[in-house]
């Protein structure tokens, strides 16, 4: 009995000291952060960099402490906390500060979860314009349906994506393996040589094929040549709600989805597409064969896709997963699932094209291996 009491009291005493030391640490950290914040705005860049270094050193707890001080407009004066977080984002966006950037990006993403006020969340998202990486792009995805936050989320995603084109630009080259296998580039990265149709809304920039329907053009962009059987590989980057399509074996006139075939290119996650028919989602042979969903990367990231068209068999691989493998002859034997006429399904050859539906998006690394040249 005595022994038990002794044990309990030992535990009690131990927890008490643990608690004391914990609260002492927390107090020290609070004081340290308060001291740093009291010195904001820093008078010059040397002291600013010093303060930033100290905040980074205080790790996730330090950032957490600063972020708890954020208040909604009209509630309290959180000027120094905002000075600190915005400066951390700028500081950590400099070359050679990748480790600081991890602390800052994680801190912002965590604060984004804990704060509920839309203005504070907007402020935090704005800081990801500079401090964010692909991780933020993934984390921001869930805000794309939020009435107020969809916009700052989209802006952060755009900003994070912008350095990919502002940087040295994308270099379009075939890998050695592809070259050996007989692939050729369909898009040279510089201009639309080898393409026809809407060369106004589709243009080359920074090694990418950019689609901007606001430029006053009309119609689709097609390859100059016709193809029958082929392996077509490309990368694409969607914007929220983007809708485009890959036309194959298509004539230059008429609706390529029916007069040829349209392999859907779509941001499946956009709320406006929540109740589409299964054969309308990304990768589907439009109206004919539905594709598996759930393999697109978050909007703003690049996706890789391969389309193999061999006779009546179509195989589509998205980011390493086969999302469609079907036979168009079988799928249309007793009428197509959309109940419409698809005369294009029996066409032996035609142009490959990007079928615009008024959305902005980008393509790159477009290459093909012709399987029917012999």
């Amino acid at each position: 009995m005595n022994k038990k009491i002794y044990q309990y009291s030992l535990i009690l005493v131990f927890s008490f000291f643990a608690f004391l030391s914990y609260s002492q640490d927390a107090k020290n950290l609070d004081k340290k952060v308060d001291d740093i914040l009291a010195q904001m705005p820093a008078g010059d860049l040397v002291s600013l960099d010093g303060l930033m270094g100290e905040l980074i050193e205080s790790g996730p707890d330090g950032f957490r402490k600063v972020s708890t001080l954020l208040t909604a407009p009209g509630v309290d004066d959180d000027t120094s906390a905002r000075f600190a977080i915005a400066s951390l984002a700028r500081y950590s966006s400099a070359p050679g500060r990748e480790e600081a950037r991890v602390v800052v990006e994680n801190g912002i993403l965590e604060a984004l979860e804990s704060h509920t006020d839309a203005e504070i969340k907007t402020f935090l998202m704005n800081q990801l314009n500079l401090a964010g990486s692909d991780r933020s792009v993934t984390a921001l995805k869930k805000y794309q349906t939020d009435e107020y936050l969809a916009e700052p989320a989209r802006q952060a995603i755009t900003s994070i994506g912008s350095t990919r084109t502002v940087g040295t630009g994308h270099v379009t080259v075939l890998t050695k393996k592809e070259k050996a296998k007989g692939f050729v580039l369909l898009f040279n990265g510089k201009d639309l040589e080898g393409w026809q149709g809407n060369t106004t809304d589709y243009f080359a920039e920074g090694g990418e094929l950019v689609v901007q329907p606001s430029r006053g053009g009309h119609g689709n962009l097609y390859t100059g040549k016709e193809y029958s059987d082929f392996i077509f590989r490309f990368e694409f980057q969607l914007t929220p709600g983007a809708n485009n399509g890959l036309g194959i074996r298509a004539p230059l006139e008429g609706d390529a989805a029916y007069m040829g075939m349209e392999l859907q290119i779509l941001d499946n996650t956009a709320p406006v597409y929540a109740s589409l028919q299964e054969y309308q989602y990304h990768g589907s042979v439009y109206g004919v064969i539905p594709a598996k969903r759930g393999y697109l990367r978050p909007v703003g990231e690049w996706n890789e896709q391969e389309v193999i068209a061999k006779g009546t068999r179509i195989t589509i691989t998205l980011n390493g997963t086969v999302i469609l493998d079907g036979d168009i002859a079988k799928a249309s034997k007793n009428g197509t699932i959309d109940g419409k006429e698809h005369p294009g399904l029996v066409r032996k050859k035609g142009h490959i094209g990007f079928l615009g539906h008024g959305s902005e998006l980008k393509f790159r690394n477009i290459r093909i291996k012709n399987l029917s040249s012999k």
């Binding site: 008078g43 314009n129 916009e151 900003s159 430029r215 009309h218």
Partner: protein, 422 residues
């Protein structure tokens, strides 16, 4: 497809050119009875008729036929100043559809300049835009491309590279250009822009912290005022004449006066087709929203020429231009003996087109156009980015991007609010 000849001016130019080749016919015969040559008076529309825009009404005697503003008070004030009947608009896109407008003046806050210049050019209008040309380097590129692709004429509203006494220098820029070009001062040159050399960086245009939301006045369409800028709750300190103090719309005194001060320097140094390779900064920590002060911004070109913005007026001995062999100070004083005499023998600089009317009628580029204007605005934007980020930056003047600095490169094209894009 967008290159159709859709402006009155193109038609005039082509029909005149076509006739000129055949024979000279008196103009009244050409036009028929009651014909008044339209080229006698160009027409213009002004987007943004706040204080600055209303100042554009008399510019070059062209006739104002349309005005646009998101504040009905501005429209009323401007209407009262224009003798003729004038169409009023809230949405500039509707104004751009008017076929009878030759020139579109853009006098909105800078966050609108890029989009409006591009849209005006696409609508077949010549453009007279307020400085700074654009709020970002990326938007400036887009304006340059659109103006070139559509064959429009573009002028920026600063003028010290071709006329008027140049601040504290007590002369226009021409004799300075002759001296610089002659090589008398040697090379490379260092230019200082500070109180000592006759300038004012206007730090009273800094913004306020911790702005509290206030109701939007009925006369203002705040949504449209913001346009591509991020949404922030309304406060009167953000808008009309105060907008300079916020990064979302402008860049304080540097944003507002920068191109006035820097454009003639770029002209003097012969840097109209390039940009500095480095910008260094000394400034306090900057607020995320409000523009703050800075002490010094230093630009260095590849050939060693430097431009120093001395915000604290620290260098009391500073010359405006300093070369290895001589200096020119405020008031056109110099340490070179007999400079004024020498000046008489120096060749004149290249002539420039100094009225926009001439540029519009002859289709020859204005002295300060989309190309050299883009470069001098890039000077402003490089300074703004360095101050905001609080670090020195290396820049590639050919690629128009920062070297090895992802954060800085994200400020080259800042995202725009839906549905706006450029």
């Amino acid at each position: 497809m967008s290159k159709t000849l859709n402006s009155r001016r193109d038609f005039l130019k082509i029909s005149l050119a076509a006739t000129a080749g055949i024979t000279i016919i008196p103009r009244h015969v050409l036009g028929g009875r009651g014909y008044m040559a339209p080229s006698d008076q160009l027409t213009k529309a002004i987007i943004g008729v706040g204080g600055m825009g209303r100042g554009h009404i008399p510019y070059e005697g062209t006739r104002v036929i349309a005005i646009c503003d998101v504040d009905t008070n501005h429209l009323e004030l401007a209407k009262g100043m224009i003798p003729d009947k004038v169409k009023t608009f809230r949405d500039f896109r509707e104004l751009l559809l008017l076929p009878e407008v030759d020139i579109v003046h853009i006098a909105t806050p800078p966050h609108w300049h890029g989009i409006m210049s591009v849209e005006a050019a696409k609508a077949g209008k010549d453009v007279w835009c307020e400085k700074p040309m654009t709020r970002t380097i990326g938007e400036g590129k887009k304006v340059m491309e659109a103006v070139n692709a559509t064959g429009r004429m573009f002028r920026l509203n600063t003028w010290f590279r071709f006329k008027d006494t140049f601040y504290g220098l007590g002369t226009d820029v021409k004799p300075l250009k002759k001296i610089v070009d002659s090589g008398i001062l040697g090379w490379p040159l260092k230019v200082t822009i500070s109180g000592t050399t006759g300038y004012d960086w206007k730090f009273f245009w800094c913004g306020e912290h911790n702005l509290q939301p206030e109701p939007v006045p009925e006369n203002l369409d705040y949504e449209m005022w913001l346009g591509p800028a991020p949404y922030k709750p309304y406060n009167p300190a953000r808008v009309h004449s105060k907008f300079r103090g916020y990064w979302d719309y402008d860049g304080g005194g540097l944003g507002d006066m920068g191109q006035h001060y820097l454009d003639p320097v770029q002209y003097l140094l012969g840097k109209d087709n390039t940009s500095p390779v480095r910008v260094e900064v000394d400034a306090p920590q900057q607020h995320y929203d409000a523009v703050g002060t800075w002490r010094r911004i230093e630009y260095t070109y590849a050939d060693g020429c430097r431009i120093i913005l001395d915000g604290e007026n620290k260098d009391k001995e500073a010359a405006y231009i300093e070369g290895p062999n001589g200096k020119i100070f405020r008031g056109f004083n110099s340490d070179i003996a007999g400079l004024q005499e020498m000046l008489k023998t120096l060749p004149e600089p290249e002539p420039q087109i100094t009225t926009f009317t001439e540029s519009v009628k002859t289709r020859k580029k204005f002295a300060l156009n989309e190309t050299n204007g883009f470069r001098s605005c890039t000077l402003v934007n490089l300074g703004v980015i360095a101050v905001r980020l609080g670090r020195a930056l290396d820049f590639d003047p050919e690629k128009l991007e920062f070297v090895n600095d992802e954060g800085a490169n994200r400020l080259i094209n800042e995202p725009m609010r839906t549905p706006w894009m450029i």
